[in-house]
């Protein structure tokens, strides 16, 4: 079974600075999908960024980018120019590459605080 590990329960960053959240995973599959979700106090999970394992290029969405290291099974999220609205719980998630796969496996989360 696949597992996802986030080793940083809490992180903090100064507004306008850059922060990196770590995620590692364990799988025997060669094709899969990785996601970062953000959960503000409203509880709604919001998709931040998605990476397909067969693509070597790191995904980027505006101020959010990932560092995907397939051999090391690492998938970190970099937030540049941090804003107060970025404060939330961030979850890393895995989904199998099988066409029938649909369940997301989540890490334990990292609580990000942004200081003004």
């Amino acid at each position: 079974a696949q597992t996802v590990t986030q080793s940083q329960p809490e992180m903090s960053v100064q507004e306008a600075e850059t922060v990196t959240l770590s995620c590692t995973y364990d799988t025997s599959e060669s094709d899969y999908y990785l996601f970062w979700y953000k959960q503000p106090p409203s509880r709604q999970m919001i998709l931040v960024i998605r990476q397909e394992a067969y693509k070597q290029q790191n995904a980027t969405e505006n101020r959010f980018s990932v560092n995907f290291q397939k051999a090391a099974k690492s998938f970190s999220l970099k937030i540049s120019d941090s804003q107060l609205g970025d404060a939330a719980m961030y979850f890393c998630a895995y989904n199998t590459g099988e066409t029938s796969g649909s369940r997301l496996t989540f890490g334990e989360g990292t609580q990000l605080t942004v200081n003004p």
């Binding site: 899969y32 709604q44 397909e52 998630a93 989540f106």
Partner: protein
């Protein structure tokens, strides 16, 4: 509606009672998922539907948990004879179709508290 809608937003009930949680997916989304988030934890998969059928219900923790979906739209998660360990936030998500590359869109969840 524009997003995934869940009701009620909060539910407090006594141990031993049955509860029903409702999820209304994004219009046109054929796949629907249920997850559970215990306090301070990540999300745990429960079950997903493609249309009205549930290809994967392996995450349901016990036979007290069941879910159904009718008309390919609204889904209900039922917990019978609730226990204190059932206290959690229950999140529903939907996607256009079931598939690992499909982004799942989440609702705000139902916070269930068992006294």
């Amino acid at each position: 509606g524009a997003g995934v809608s869940q009701s009620p937003s909060n539910k407090v009930t006594e141990k031993g009672k049955d509860v029903e949680l409702r999820c209304d997916p994004i219009s046109g989304h054929t796949a629907l998922y249920w997850y559970r988030q215990s306090l301070g934890q990540g999300l745990e998969f429960l079950i997903y539907f493609q249309g009205n059928s549930a290809p994967d219900k392996s995450g349901l923790p016990s036979d007290r948990f069941s879910a159904e979906r009718t008309g390919g739209s609204v889904s209900t998660l039922t917990i019978q004879r609730t226990q204190q360990e059932d206290s959690a936030v229950y999140l529903c998500a939907s996607s256009l179709v079931a598939g690992s590359n499909q982004p799942q869109h989440f609702g705000d969840g139902t916070r269930l508290s068992i006294l």
